[in-house]
Structure formats: C-alpha cells, structure tokens
C-alpha cells in the first residue's frame, strides 16, 4: 500500500516541478536567461496581443493577363526588328493575342520567328485572307500553371520581404490553397499602414506622356490605341483638398520597377517634403539613359499601380542610373514607398478578403477581463465544492489546482496559442473538471448510505465511477477535436485549452484525489468521511 502511495506522490511531485519549470517563463520575465530562453512559451493569439490577420486573394487571371501583355509587346518589337510589319494586334481571351501581317510569307516567317524566340508560347498560323494573314499566339498550359504557382509563391516572398523591412516580430505569411495568402502580423500598432503595405501591388512604371493628344478628346473616349488615360492625384498642402488631374500616356512602359536596385527616403530641406530616390541596376540604368536621351523636353510619367505620382519634363539625358519620385509625401508614406520599391512588386494584384485587426488596447483589456473571469469562476467553483462536499470537496479543489497548473504547463510545452476563446475554454474546463470528482463523490455517498465501511466506500466509488468518467471525457474530447479541425484561429485556441484541460483532468481527478484518501487511510483507517 505505502509503496503505491509513495510512487504516486513522487509522480505528482515530479509533474508539479516539471510544470513549474516549463510554465514560469511564460508568466514572468524575472528569471535567469539560461532558464527563460530555453523554455517554450505560451503564445498569445492576435486577439490578445493585438495585431492584424489578413487573408488575401491573389488575382491569378490578372497575372496571366499581365504576362501575355508583356509577351505581346516583346513579340511585336521582335517582328518589327526583323522587318515583319504588324498590321494589327488583337487580344484573344485572357491568355492570348493575334497579330495580322500583310499578304505574302510574312505570317509564316513570323510563326517561325516567334516559335524560336518564345518557347513558352504556342504560335500558329491563323486565317489567311487576301488582305493578309493572322498569327495566333497563346500561353502554353504548363506556362499558365507556372504563372499561377509563381504568383502565389512570389507573392508570399515579396510580402515577407516588405514586412521584414517594415519591422514586425514573428510575422506569419503563408500560402493557402491555390490562390490565397494568409498574413498574420502580431503586435502591429499602425495597422492601416501595415495593411496597405501588404496589399499594394507596387508596380512601378515609367511611361511617356503623349502630348499629341488633347485631354478633352481623350476624356470623351477618343484615346489612340497605344495610349491610356491615367490620373495624377495631388493634395493641396494648405487646404487639404485632393485633386485628380488626367494625363494621356503611352500604354507601353519604357522601364519598370523590377530594375530598381535600391530605394531610399530623402528629405527636401527647402520644401520640407520627403521624396524617394532610387537607383537602377546596370540594365535599368542603360535603358533609363537611352530613354532620357531620346526624349529630352518630353514629360515622363512615373506611374505606381496605375496612378501617376509625378510627370516631370526630362531636362537632359540622365546617365547616373538614378531617379526620384516626388509628391507631397508624409515621412511614413515615403518610407513605405521606399520599402515596396525595394521589395519589388507583387506578380499579381491581391485583394483583401478577410481582415481582422485588433488594437493593442483591446487585446490587453481582453486578457485582463479573461483572467479576472477565470479567477472568479475558479473561486466560485472551489468555494462551492468545499461547502458542499466539505473535506472531500477540499481534496477536489486541491486536484483542481493541479489541473490548472498542468494545463497551463502543457500549453507552454506545446507552445500552444492562447486566445480569448481559449481562456473561455480554460474556464469551462475548470467547471467541468470537478464533474469527475462530483461523480465519484456521489458514488461514495451512495456506498456510505448503503452502510459500507469508509475505505471500501471510497474504493467502490472510484471503481464504479471510473468508466462513467472516461466516457464523459471522451465525448467532450471528440467535440473538441472536431472543433480544432474545423475552427479558425481563436476557436482552435478554445478547442486546445478545453481538450487539454479535459485530458489532464482524467489524471488529476482520479489520481491526485485518490492518493490523498489512500494516504489518510494508510496512516489510520478512517472511521468517518467528511463528504
């Protein structure tokens, strides 16, 4: 008898010590680093520490469209270079286009040329008529698949890059399914800014302003095929009024942001504003040099995500490979712009389809209220048990303390995430935890009423209640596991704390309480039991 008792007491003592070692680093910072840093910790969910959860939908069709547009530009340039005159260009669906050539062997030569130049395109000869022949071009299926995959993978990379530069501790950026990206930014304070930083496509393009077309005509819808109307937004620093100025620009970008090597914020001491200066890599510098040399005295629009930031007149050839974006930027706006230019553009636009932002103050408030509710709830249960079951109730309370301790230590050991519903799960687990002891104690009472000796009554109570306790725990566990499987973040937290609490309860309610009764009986057989 004694052997089994001391064995169980040792087990409980070891578990308690282990639990304290694992748990304390999660509760306090006042510990030696050697201890603190080596232990896993309970993570706080976004709802408790504040932060941003974003689910983005990647517009894959747009990525495919962008790719085919780029190919069509290149294809036309290549044809022109080889002396194959393109009479007309037409988009065909989302992933193809067709080019029209004059009669003769132009079309056939174009097919051979394009096939050779662009292995990722399917090129074929289309209709041959008296006034010319068409060549149809489309993306190969495996190429489309590659673009789709790449859009998500590259998107995750780019967003991670931006977030790293923005400075967020432990961000989580993962692809979800075929076309989703989930971004979690715990602890972010400036939430709106973070969301914009993540969601911005940040496609930077340099486009020539077409001065040959009048704005009035263009706004009426008479835009030449190779042109488009874009708007320059500006805010009057005095009145704060925002104005939109339309400009007609060439559709074709002379240079894009992927050639940017670095970008940084500069403060203009004269005007007090901030601007972003960037330097190009060697290829970009070469192109920029040529473009500026060819277009002196013309206006070059700097376009980010289809809105014009500035459209300065090119005064002279710029050979240094440097350019500036000016605009009435606040320091934060300029800093964020520099970040997105450095990190690069997203391969496809993304749309925020879910945004949960929790301010840090609400998180703190939730923790405080949750902990207060947990403490009051636990106290109510503890007092009730002590009043109703007297000494036995106190024993159950003692087991409850172990239950809570082991549960928190278990959560720390698995680095589980504690959410506000998770705290609710702990409270509920506390309420349910005493159920096992209630079942056992009611059994013991029945046995005592049936005039059994105390010790026999206790043993019978534990014995007979055992399977009922197991059954009731398993059913709760089943629902908790299913909740975990189907739930989202906060609710997973609820499932975790509830299921762990219930599982641990099986041990504390059966072993921790029984050993007390056994110990007392072993010292001196009990004549009466206060229950």
């Amino acid at each position: 008898m004694w052997k089994s008792i001391s064995w169980r007491i040792t087990l409980i003592a070891v578990l308690t010590a282990g639990s304290l070692i694992v748990l304390l680093p999660s509760l306090t910072d006042q510990l030696p680093a050697a201890w603190k840093d080596r232990m896993p910790k309970i993570n706080l969910g976004l709802d408790l520490q504040g932060g941003v959860f974003l689910r983005l939908s990647v517009e894959l069709d747009k990525a495919i469209e962008n790719t085919i547009l780029r190919y069509s530009d290149e294809a036309r340039a290549v044809c022109r270079e080889k002396g194959l005159p393109v009479l007309a260009y037409q988009k065909a669906g989302n992933d193809g286009f067709s080019l029209k050539f004059p009669p003769g062997d132009f079309a056939a030569r174009a097919v051979a040329l394009l096939k050779d130049e662009f292995p990722s395109l399917t090129v074929s000869l289309g209709e041959v008529k008296s006034d010319g022949a068409t060549v149809t071009v489309s993306l190969k299926p495996q190429e489309i698949q590659a673009i789709r995959t790449n859009a998500v993978v590259q998107g995750v990379e780019t967003i991670r890059n931006r977030i790293d530069q923005f400075g967020v501790r432990e961000p989580q950026i993962i692809a979800e399914g075929e076309d989703r990206i989930v971004v979690q930014l715990p602890g972010v304070k400036d939430q709106q800014r973070a969301i914009e930083l993540v969601g911005k496509t940040a496609l930077l393009e340099f486009k020539l302003v077409d001065d040959g077309v009048s704005i009035e005509e263009a706004l009426k819808g008479n835009v030449p095929e190779e042109d488009q109307v874009l708007y320059q937004k500006s805010v009057d620093p005095q009145t704060g009024r925002a104005t939109k100025t339309p400009l007609v620009v060439k559709k074709r970008a002379l240079l894009t942001g992927d050639t940017i090597k670095t970008a940084k914020v500069n403060f203009d001491s004269r005007q007090g504003g901030a601007h972003v200066s960037m330097s190009f890599d060697s290829r970009g510098a070469k192109v920029f040099d040529r473009v500026t040399a060819e277009n002196v005295k013309r206006r070059l629009a700097i376009v980010l995500d289809d809105s014009i930031y500035s459209a300065p007149v090119i005064q002279e050839r710029i050979s240094g490979g440097e350019a500036q974006i000016t605009g009435n930027f606040t320091p934060e706006e300029a800093a964020d712009l520099a970040i997105v230019l450095r990190a690069g553009s997203l391969p496809a636009p993304v749309k925020v389809i879910q945004n949960v932002s929790i301010g840090p103050s609400l998180g703190l408030d939730s923790i405080q209220k949750g902990i207060r509710a947990a403490i009051i709830g636990a106290l109510l249960v503890v007092i009730f048990m002590a009043v109703y079951y007297r000494f036995a109730g106190v024993v159950a309370d003692f087991a409850l303390v172990f239950n809570i301790l082991f549960l928190l230590a278990g959560m720390a050991a698995f680095s589980a995430t504690l959410t506000l519903p998770g705290i609710a799960g702990i409270i509920l687990a506390i309420g349910m935890a005493v159920d096992s002891n209630v079942l056992i104690f009611e059994r013991i009472r029945e046995e005592i009423r049936a005039k059994k000796a105390v010790r026999a009554a206790i043993d019978a109570g534990y014995d007979k209640a055992f399977w009922t306790v197991v059954d009731s725990h398993v059913t709760t566990l089943i629902t908790a596991v299913i909740l975990f499987q189907f739930g989202t973040g906060p609710i997973k937290g609820f499932a975790v704390s509830l299921s762990m609490g219930v599982a641990i309860n099986l041990f504390t309610a059966l072993v921790c309480t029984k050993v007390v009764f056994d110990y007392l009986n072993a010292k001196k057989p009990m004549q009466a039991l206060s229950i």
Binding site: I353, V356, S357, A373, M432, T468, I478
Partner: protein, 305 residues
C-alpha cells in the same frame, strides 16, 4: 452531508408527454432558425454573413443617433450600432447582405467618422472585415463540423453501449443544438462563429450528462433493480439527479463568471453556454432516455459494455 436533492422519486417518464411537446416546439423553432442561418439571414455575425465590424472607443459619450445619421448619409443605412454602457465603446456592424462584390469599407467609414466627430476623438480597438465568400465557407465548415461530431458521437456510443443508445444520445444532442439556435433566433441575438463553438461545446457537455445517465441505466438493468425499462430509467435518473444538478451548477457558476466579467467579446458566447447548460441538463433527463424507452420497448435485455 449537504444535499441539494435527497432520495427523489420523481416520475420523469410520466412527464415525457409534456417534455416531448416542449422539446418538439423548441426543435421546430430551431429548425426554422437553422434554415434562416444557413440562408444567411437571422442576425448572423459578420464572420458568418460577411461584412465589416469595428469597435471604436471614444473619449466622450457618443450619441448613437448622430453616428447613425452620419452612416446613413454615406449609404450605410443598414448599419447596426451597439453601445457598451459606461465605456464609451461603440460597435458598428455593416453586413454584406450577400452582395457579390467583396469591398472593404472599414477605412473610409473610420475616416468619415474621424472627420464628422472631430470633437470626440476615438481609438479603433478592432476591425474585422470578411468577404462574403469566406463567410459562406465558414458557414459550410460549421455545418460540416456539427454533422461530423454527431456521427463520431453515434459511433463512440454505439461502441460503448449499443446502437440505439448512440442514436438516442445524438438525438438529444441535436435537440440541444436546435433548441439553442431556436432560442437565440427568437431573442434576435447575433449568431457568430463563437456561437457555433458554443453549440459544439454544449453538444459535448450535454452528451456527458447523457452518458452518465446511460451508464446508470445499463448498470441498473444488469442488477435487475426494477421490472420494466421505464421504471429502470426513472430510478437511474433519480439516482444520478444529485450529480446532474451539482455538475450543472459548477459549470454554470464558471459560465456565469464569464458572462459577468469576461468582457463584451465573450458576452454572447457565455450567454449561449449558460443557456446551453440548462438545456443540456434538461435533455439528458427528458429527451435521451425516453427516446430509448420508446425505441427499445420495455424489454429488460442487457446492454453490452
């Protein structure tokens, strides 16, 4: 010995007519509520319906009518506003109402309020925007979770007891879930993901209660304490009544503490749990056992396990 109930001999089976009538009414109400929930009607939380919700904390008390007027003018006449007494907190909900377009409106609305209520600055405590597609997916997941857990429970209880016990327990569990949906539907309280969580939790809890009663029925059949099945049920329920009440009380105490002190985020969740515990306790006495009695008849054949 302190006892809340002592040697009761209540004829629970005799009350089953009333109980069935009551339960049938609750279940029908719940079915109506469930259909409405699935259709995206019935005051769904924005996490299930799609839309935008935000919690703003003002420095001074804020007039709801004023905010409502501002929002109406901006085309958000359907916004729901909810204040938290004594805390200058305002909850604004803008439901998507099944609009296909997934447009995020939090930022413009916040900017609008900042401008219009310049004299009363506020902090944005939380923003939650959910596109209709996600809301739809979460609704489906929730329905699937409920179904899968019902199946898992039937299988477990069929294994531990017998098939009829499993089905009866599942019926009792579904009764509870429908009853909660019905009551929340009737009260017009918002149903969100946490509510679904409460449903599953109460499902598990009520099942525990049911299993305790079933265990005792099985034992009393084996011991042949009574001549008929109905009498055995009555005896068993009476024998475990004290435990049923004590456990319900302790869980209820914990939940009430959550309801009173847990803060606004958990308020409806705690309320659902509290109501659910009452229903779960009722169903394990008045629904699960009578269902078996009706199905099994009065034979006193032993239950395996």
């Amino acid at each position: 010995m302190m006892e809340l109930v002592k040697n009761t001999k209540i004829d629970f089976m005799g009350l089953k007519k009333y109980a069935f009538a009551f339960s049938a009414a609750l279940t029908i109400l719940g079915l109506v509520g469930t259909v409405q929930v699935y259709r995206g009607k019935a005051n769904l939380g924005i996490d299930l319906a799609g839309g935008t919700s935000m919690q703003l904390k003002f420095q001074k008390p804020v007039a709801m009518d004023e905010v409502r007027a501002i929002l109406s003018k901006a085309g958000h006449a359907e916004a729901t506003l909810q204040g938290v007494p004594g805390e200058n907190i305002l909850l604004i909900k803008l439901r998507a109402h099944g609009k296909a377009e997934e447009k995020m409106v939090a930022e413009p609305v916040i900017n609008l309020l900042r401008q219009s209520l310049a004299g009363n600055p506020f902090v944005v405590e939380s923003v939650s925007e959910i596109g209709p597609a996600i809301g739809h997916k979460l609704r489906q997941d929730a329905a699937l979770a409920l179904l899968v857990s019902a199946l898992a429970i039937i299988v477990y209880l069929a294994w531990r007891f017998e098939f009829k016990f499993g089905v009866a327990a599942a019926i009792a569990t579904f009764h509870d879930i429908f009853a909660m949906v019905g009551i929340f539907f009737l009260l017009g309280i918002e149903k969100d993901l946490l509510f679904i969580t409460a449903l599953l939790t109460i499902g598990g809890y009520s099942l525990t209660d049911t299993v305790v009663v079933f265990d005792r029925i099985r034992e009393n059949i084996r011991l042949r304490k009574r001549a008929t099945f109905s009498e055995t049920i009555n005896l068993s329920v009476n024998e475990v009544l004290s435990r049923t009440i004590v456990t319900s009380l302790t869980v209820f105490l914990a939940t009430i503490s959550l309801l009173l002190f847990g803060g606004i985020v958990l308020h409806n969740f705690a309320l659902a749990l509290a109501i659910g515990i009452l229903i779960g306790t009722y169903s394990s006495i008045f629904v699960a056992s009578p269902v078996i009695a009706m199905w099994r008849g009065e034979k006193m054949t032993e239950v395996k396990g």
